[in-house]
C-alpha cells in the first residue's frame, strides 16, 4: 500500500497534516503521539515581529463548530527559528511555516528569512479574517493575491503554498491568481467569517465582534471550494475545513485535494490526526486501493 504523496514538491509519508493555528508548534501534542507519524505540520501563523493578538473573548462554540478571533498571536519568526524549529526538526515530518503579515514588505522580509531556514515549505496566509491589516485584505482579489505571491516568489526558493479565504464570491479565480504568480500549491479553506450574538446582553460574544468559523459546520462549503479550485488550476490543493476522520479526508481527496489538514478536529481529540491516517489506510484496504494518489480528484460528477 502506498500512502506517500508529493504535495507542491514536498514529499510526505501520508496526506495528513495539521492545520495552522490548531497545533501550535507541536510541543503540546508530542506527549500524545510521535509527531513523525504525520505527513506534515503547518505551524501557527508566524509574523516578522511578535504579535499579541486580539482582546478576549476570542473564541466561542457554535453548532458543530467554533468561531475564533485570535488575531495571529505569535512569538515572531526569530523566536520560532531559535526555539521551535529545532524542536520540530527532531521529527521526521514535513515542516511548513504559515507566514502572515500586515504589509507586502512584511511578507517579503519574512519570506527572505524563511528561505534560509531548514523548513520544507511556506504557507502564505492571505486569508486570516481577524486582523485589521493585511491577510484577507490581500487575499480577496485575483490581483491582490497575484501581486503579493509574485513578490514573495522572487525571494522564496522553497515550495510556496497560498492559503485562500472562502470569504469571496469566486474562489477559483483567486486560486488562479496564486497559480499565475508561480505558487506551487494552494491550501483551502481558511475560516468563514461569522458572528454570534448573546441575546441577553445583545452584544456579540467575541470582543472583535466577528470571527472565523471552523469545524464540521464548514465542511460542505470547503468540499465545494476544493472541487471548484481543482477544476480551475493545475497546482495541487491542500484541503481543509471540518475534517475529523478518515471519511472526511477521503471526501476532500476525491474532491481534488492532494493532501489534507486537520484543524479544529485537533481540539476535540488530540489523536484525531493519527486516527485519520489509520482510517484512510482502512478505507484503502476495504476498497482495494493500492495507491492513495489514485483517488485524488476522482469524484464522479453527476
Amino acid at each position: 500500500m502506498n500512502t506517500r504523496i508529493n504535495f507542491a514538491g514536498i514529499k510526505m509519508k501520508n496526506p495528513v497534516t495539521v492545520a495552522s493555528g490548531t497545533f501550535g508548534y507541536g510541543r503540546e501534542f508530542h506527549n500524545f503521539f510521535d509527531l513523525s507519524k504525520l505527513g506534515g505540520i503547518i505551524t501557527k501563523g508566524t509574523s516578522l515581529k511578535p504579535r499579541s493578538g486580539n482582546k478576549p473573548p476570542r473564541i466561542c462554540e457554535t453548532a458543530s463548530g467554533i468561531l475564533n478571533s485570535i488575531g495571529l498571536q505569535n512569538p515572531g519568526i526569530e523566536y520560532f527559528a531559535q526555539n521551535d524549529l529545532p524542536f520540530l526538526k527532531k521529527f521526521d515530518t514535513a515542516i511548513i511555516v504559515n507566514a502572515c503579515g500586515s504589509t507586502v514588505d512584511e511578507y517579503v522580509e519574512l519570506c527572505k528569512i524563511l528561505n534560509k531556514l531548514d523548513i520544507d515549505g511556506v504557507e502564505l496566509n492571505l486569508s486570516c479574517p481577524n486582523v485589521k491589516a493585511g491577510c484577507m485584505a490581500f487575499g480577496n482579489t485575483y490581483d491582490g493575491v497575484k501581486e503579493i505571491t509574485s513578490k514573495v516568489r522572487k525571494v522564496l526558493d522553497k515550495p510556496l503554498i497560498v492559503k485562500l479565504t472562502p470569504n469571496v464570491t469566486d474562489i477559483a479565480s483567486i486560486a488562479k491568481g496564486a497559480e499565475d504568480a508561480g505558487a506551487d500549491g494552494v491550501s483551502l479553506i481558511n475560516t468563514l467569517l461569522g458572528m454570534k450574538i448573546d441575546i441577553h446582553t445583545r452584544k456579540p460574544i467575541l470582543a472583535n465582534n466577528t470571527g472565523g468559523l471552523s469545524g464540521p459546520a464548514v465542511k460542505p462549503v470547503a468540499i465545494r471550494m476544493v472541487y471548484q479550485v481543482s477544476q480551475a488550476v493545475n497546482i495541487p490543493i491542500l484541503g481543509m475545513g471540518g475534517i475529523i476522520n478518515g471519511e472526511d479526508a477521503i471526501e476532500f481527496m476525491l474532491a481534488g485535494a492532494t493532501a489534507i489538514s486537520i484543524g479544529a478536529g485537533n481540539f476535540i481529540d488530540p489523536y484525531t490526526s493519527i486516527n485519520t491516517i489509520s482510517e484512510i489506510k482502512n478505507y484503502m484496504i476495504k476498497n482495494n486501493i493500492e495507491n492513495i494518489n489514485d483517488i485524488i480528484g476522482k469524484v464522479q460528477i453527476n
Binding site: 490548531t22 501557527k44 499579541s52 478576549p56 458543530s64 467554533i66 475564533n68 469545524g215 476535540i268 481529540d269
Partner: protein, 263 residues
C-alpha cells in the same frame, strides 16, 4: 503528564438541582494532578456540542486513583454530561494547566471562594492541611439554598466561615469582608481565590492594598485547553492598553498570581 483517558464513572451525586458531583476512575490523571488543575471532558459522541468542556478538579485520591469533579449544568454540553450513568466511561484529558495553587512558603493560608467557584479550592485546603498549614476558609453564597459542601470544607479547614449575601444562613454579607478582618488582625500570610469575576476583582484589589500574596483561579472561554488555540487570553497587568500582552488561562493558568493579571 497530560493524558487522555476513558474514565469509568464510579459515583454520581446530585448536590443541588443542576449541580452534580462525579467520581471517576482516572489513575493516570490523578498521579500528577495538583490543586488548581482542570480537565477537559468530551460531552458528545458526535460533533454537537463540538468542543470539550473545561471543568476544575475538586478532589483527588492518589491511592485509589479516583478523580472527583463537580459541575453545574449551564448548557447542552454539561446537560449531556449529567446524563452519564454510573459504570459508563467518560473521555477526559488532564491534568491541565501549568499554573496551580502553591502554598509551601506560607503558613497561614486564606482560601476564599464564591458560589460554584468553591469546588477547585477543596483539594487545595486538603493538601495544605495535610502539610500542616493553618487553613482559614471563607465561602460565600447567595442564600441558604445555594450553600454547598459545608461539611466537606469543615474537615479540611482549621477555621471555616460561611457567608450568605442575604443572611439567610450563617454569617451575613460577603466572604471578603470576613477575610479582610482577619488580614487586619495579621492572621493571613497568603490568599487563594476562585469565584465570580466581581469577587475576584475585589479580592485582587484587597490583596494588593494589603500587600498579601494572592493566587486566583480564572476562567475564560476556552477552545482546546491544551495551549494551542490561544483562545483563552488574559491580559498581563504590566502591559499597556496600547500594547497589550496576554497569557492563556489553560497554559499559564488557570491559577495566576493576582498581581500579574488584569481582570
Amino acid at each position: 503528564m497530560v493524558v487522555k483517558v476513558q474514565a469509568k464513572l464510579l459515583d454520581k451525586i446530585k448536590l443541588k438541582e443542576n449541580i452534580y458531583h462525579f467520581k471517576v476512575e482516572a489513575p493516570e490523571i490523578v498521579k500528577t494532578a495538583k490543586p488548581g488543575n482542570f480537565i477537559e471532558i468530551r460531552v458528545s459522541n458526535n460533533t454537537d456540542p463540538f468542543i470539550r468542556r473545561p471543568i476544575s478538579i475538586h478532589n483527588i485520591d492518589k491511592n485509589k486513583g479516583i478523580l472527583e469533579f463537580i459541575f453545574q449544568i449551564k448548557g447542552e454540553g454539561t446537560k449531556n454530561l449529567s446524563k452519564k450513568n454510573i459504570g459508563e466511561e467518560i473521555d477526559i484529558i488532564g491534568p491541565l494547566g501549568n499554573g496551580t495553587f502553591k502554598y509551601n512558603e506560607y503558613q497561614n493560608i486564606a482560601v476564599i471562594g464564591g458560589g460554584i467557584g468553591v469546588f477547585p479550592l477543596y483539594e487545595l485546603c486538603k493538601e495544605a492541611k495535610e502539610d500542616n498549614k493553618h487553613v482559614s476558609t471563607y465561602l460565600g453564597f447567595r442564600s441558604k439554598d445555594f450553600v454547598l459542601l459545608e461539611k466537606e470544607f469543615k474537615k479540611v479547614s482549621d477555621n471555616l466561615i460561611i457567608t450568605t449575601d442575604d443572611g439567610s444562613y450563617a454569617n451575613t454579607g460577603f466572604a471578603i469582608n470576613y477575610l479582610e478582618e482577619d488580614i487586619n488582625q495579621g492572621k493571613v500570610s497568603s490568599i487563594y481565590a476562585c469565584g465570580p469575576l466581581p469577587m475576584l476583582k475585589a479580592i485582587r484589589k484587597l490583596s494588593i492594598e494589603k500587600n498579601i500574596p494572592c493566587q486566583i483561579s480564572l476562567e475564560e472561554r476556552m477552545g482546546c485547553g491544551l495551549g494551542v488555540c490561544l483562545g483563552c487570553a488574559v491580559k498581563t497587568a504590566e502591559s499597556s492598553k496600547e500594547n497589550p500582552q496576554y497569557w492563556h488561562v489553560c497554559k499559564g493558568g488557570p491559577v495566576f498570581n493576582a498581581k500579574l493579571v488584569e481582570i
